[in-house]
Amino acid sequence: MPAVRYRVFRDLDWPLLLVALAICALGILQIYSATHGTPWMKQALWLGGGLFLMWLLARVDYHTLLSQVPVLYGITLALLVLTLVAGSYTGGSKRWIALPLGFRFQAAEVAKVVIVLLVARYLSELRSDRLEWGDLVKLGLLVGVPAGLVLAEPDLGTTLTYVSVLAMGIFFGGVQWRHLLVIVLITLVLLPCGWYLAKDYQKARVLTFLDPMRDPMRSGYQVIQSKIAVGAGGIWGKGVARGSQTQLRFLPVAYTDFVISAFAEEHGFVGILVLFGLYFLLLMQIVQNAQRAPDRAGMLICMGVATLLLFHLLVNAGMAVGRMPTTGIPLPLMSYGGSSMMSVFAMLGLVNNVRLRRFGT
């Protein structure tokens, strides 16, 4: 169908794409500045791959994708189990499946896309605007299984991103106030139990979040150094490749989880304003696509993507200034990492998919 291909290219959400590319460009610049090595080239490569994946996911009708959710869900669960069984250990957790040529692959990132589709399909099939207990439990279990597998890696941060999509879903699906109240109460009761089950490093992270000076050299080290980097950037920043915290490596993982701290040090508050402006445009563009979606499923897909991205931004950018606990959640489009890049562009592909079919298929 040559006509369809032409339409896909022309009718892509170009403002959305340009904003995303701008963020990626800042990200690649910052990765270069922080490492002076090859990672920025790899990131550019993944960006190309991401764009291709986006185009691919924009072409296939999302209704077809939704119809294949059970299959996708099964594959995802299999990959997550494989990660736990055959994954490689990094910093005390199993999050990666090793691929040939030294590449690694994070199944939990694939699961993000699938969960967005899963929630959209489940809620769009409901015949009511009000969620009943059964629906809540069923949806909770469907999201809970992959979430549990990721939690077992352990990767609490990514698990919470799934929960954010679930929360978006039941919010849009029409949760009842008394149900919400019960859920909140159950959560409050379960929290202390979770505390006993939490790994030591997770407890340390939460405690450190509450008081960073509690252990400034170990778990508090990252947050303290990140805050110094951000604060030292000041209004105008130190300039590209001139931030001492970044260049002298006092800031840990300055090109992955703390890329925004490195950016803030070298580009200052003004740079942060520009960056946040771009993210805001990105989110609002996605929300606009949600509003224009032809059906409930399309809207839920777009809102799922928006929620995921907002949650990532909140946790990652908040962590860099000590307003959120330290978790390994990447900053979408900026943090170095292929799996994250691919999954974000896959999600943008879904948004474009919905947009392309706003007048029906």
Partner: protein, 636 residues
């Protein structure tokens, strides 16, 4: 292609098999999501505003603290050389570990102490000492790190483990092994709190290494250089990335001693295994050629911060190795006092040269019987024989005739009862008893009976080995006492004091001392075949005769042995005093003096044969002929 209408309200509803069409679905939720997004952005921006705009300077300072370190560059201390330029004390390059107090964490003290095999309590005490000081002072923890300790520090001194650890490359003192010349040289150590508060060390900072004893202390200002500093940019592994500025260290100046390493070595060997002291002085200049106190201590152990256990062992050792006997041991001079009593008697006119008495092995004065050391007595005793055979009975009589105040006058003339003024710290005065002294000290009048004891160098009289050598250096120098000194600072020798002495009287006393060694007197053991060595023995009691009877044979109450000798009679070039604690008789101290004087003339003779040491090789501290001298001495 037809224009696509923008407004989807006008579109025809399209119902798929999966979804229902309801255009108003989620409108409220989307609006809420948008507000939520704005709230999240405000929340985040507030966080960045707080750090970047409101607290920029605070975090800038912290970023600078992270990366800029000031590393001290300790100046090497000057070396200590002997009179021929041979090196006695050198430096060697090593590493010192300091803790930066800006990064110090209380809970790191134990693992650091364990990693470096330090006493945890010592380290905690050390850290606590710095509590009240400004935080830019670093805490010196350990000097002269071994390769294993260095590896531990290198492996752990990154930003996440123990960032307080800093390594400083430094020059450390290398002292002679086994306590050689330990008291003379002294040692360096970290300045103590008490010293910091004293005016003498006012210009010093905590953590400074200063001379603690001996030459190291007396000439600390010359030996100490001026520390430099390096300001560098470091990364999180404490690697230097950039040098911002360097203030070079100014090394301390080398110090040339008057000590002759050859003589010092001979004296040290002669005292090996004995407690006591040896002092050798050049009477014409006051230069000290050798200064020994045994037992010694290995000063190298002090350099690397002695731990409290080792220090306790040293201070509690009954042999008192830290005590500098040459300058601080105040003991009765015994018979070495007799030449001075004789001189006092002749000069004051109490006796003339023909004064003679009969010694029957003892005599009674004021109702009490005083023994002579020779049981059968010496028979008829003149001045010459009195000195040569050290006849006690002779000097009881001479002393009583001379009177205590005349004896005291001449004792003070030769330098007893006050410091000689040697350029070393810690010198003691000794005691010269007199009627005035007794009233001043005990508020009692002097009893004539006490003069009897003083006349043979017992009673309240005490001197140091240095005073003994000093006293006779002035006498053999015909009444000119040169200020004794161990450092050759290029100035002309200083005259300390002079005295008018009748040369005839002085000659008679010195002749007597020749007899001691060369005419079968008490010091025959000091005799040398080709050199006119003169001297005087002394055996001083540690307590009264009655007390000693009850403690017979106990080592610590045996008599102390003294010997003071000079050579030669006609041309006195060297005076040597030796103290051999609990050595029983002066005759056992005589060979010590003999060995040193023999070494002096052996060396002189060797230099006359081969010509003097060229000054260039001396300056380059080429190896001296010490081994040959030692071998010769030991063979005897």
């Amino acid at each position: 292609m037809a224009r696509i209408p923008e407004d989807r309200e006008h579109e025809a509803p399209i119902v798929s098999h999966l979804v229902r069409n309801d255009t108003n679905f989620g409108a409220v939720q989307v609006a809420i999501f948008q507000y939520l997004t704005v709230a999240v952005f405000i929340f985040l921006l507030a966080g960045y505003w707080d750090l970047q705009v409101r607290n920029e300077s605070l975090y800038n300072t912290k970023a600078l603290q992270n990366q800029i370190k000031s590393l001290p560059m300790p100046a090497p201390r000057g070396r200590i050389l002997d009179r021929d330029g041979r090196v006695i004390v050198d430096n060697h390059a090593s590493y010192r570990l300091v803790l930066s107090r800006e990064n110090l964490r209380e809970e790191h003290i134990v693992p650091i102490a364990e990693g470096l095999d330090l006493d945890v309590d010592d380290l905690e005490t050390l850290v606590r000492r710095y509590d009240k000081r400004p935080s830019y002072y670093t805490i010196p923890v350990k000097e002269e790190l071994t390769p294993a300790e260095l590896a531990f520090v290198e492996a752990h001194r990154n930003a996440q483990m123990f960032p307080e650890m800093e390594l400083i490359k430094s020059q450390f003192r290398l002292y002679p092994q086994g306590g050689f010349a330990a008291h003379l040289i002294g040692y360096v150590g970290e300045i103590s709190d008490a010293e910091l508060n004293s005016p003498e060390w006012a210009s010093h900072n905590p953590g400074d290494l200063i001379g603690k004893m001996g030459v190291e202390r007396a000439y600390n200002e010359i030996l100490t250089g001026v520390d430099g500093q390096r300001q560098v940019v470091v990364d999180n592994r404490m690697n230097t990335r950039q040098v911002l500025g360097v203030k070079p260290a100014v090394p301390g100046k080398d110090l040339r001693l008057t000590i002759d390493l050859d003589l010092q070595t001979v004296a040290e060997l002669a005292m090996e295994g004995r407690r006591g002291a040896v002092v050798a002085i050049v009477p014409a200049t006051g230069e000290v050629l050798a200064l020994v106190s045994t037992p010694g201590y290995d000063a190298n152990h002090f350099v690397g911060r002695i731990n409290s256990r080792e220090w306790k062992a040293l201070t509690e050792d009954p042999n008192k190795p830290l005590f500098n006997r040459a300058l601080q041991s105040q003991l009765a001079p015994g018979s070495t006092f007799k030449p001075i009593v004789a001189l006092a008697a002749l000069e004051s006119g109490a006796i003339d040269e023909n004064f003679e008495i009969h010694c029957a092995g003892g005599a009674t004065f004021f109702g009490r019987y005083f023994k002579c050391h020779q049981k059968g007595g010496h028979g008829a005793v003149t001045l010459h024989k009195g000195i040569t055979h050290s006849c006690d009975v002779y000097f009881y009589n001479v002393g009583l005739r001379t009177g205590i105040d005349n004896i005291a006058k001449y004792a003070e003339m030769v330098g007893y009862g006050r410091k000689t003024g040697i350029d070393l710290p810690g010198e003691k005065e000794g005691v010269v008893p007199s009627t005035a002294w007794k009233i001043r000290t005990f508020r009692e009048k002097w009893y004539e009976g006490e003069t009897v004891s003083v006349a043979i160098g017992q009673g309240a009289t005490t001197i140091t080995p240095l005073q003994l050598a000093y006293a006779f250096s002035g006498l053999v120098n015909k009444g000119v006492w040169m200020r004794p000194h161990v450092v050759n600072d290029g100035r002309k020798p200083q005259v300390d004091h002079t005295a008018e002495i009748n040369p005839v009287n002085l000659g008679k006393v010195l002749d007597g001392m020749c007899g001691v060694v060369n005419e079968g007197g008490t010091g025959a053991a000091a005799r040398l075949p080709d050199i006119m060595l003169c001297g005087k023995t002394g055996s001083s009691q540690r307590a009264s005769n009655d007390f000693l009877k009850t403690r017979k044979g106990e080592e610590e109450f045996k008599d102390d042995a003294w010997f003071v000798g000079f050579a030669s009679r006609d041309n006195p070039e060297i005076v040597v005093a030796a103290l051999f604690e609990n050595g029983v008789h002066g005759n056992f101290a005589a060979p010590i003096v003999r060995d040193v004087i023999k070494a002096y003339y052996d060396k002189q003779r060797r230099q006359q044969q081969t010509g003097p040491l060229p000054s260039l090789s001396a300056a380059l501290s080429l190896a001296g002929p010490a081994p040959a001298t030692l071998a010769g001495t030991r063979a005897r």
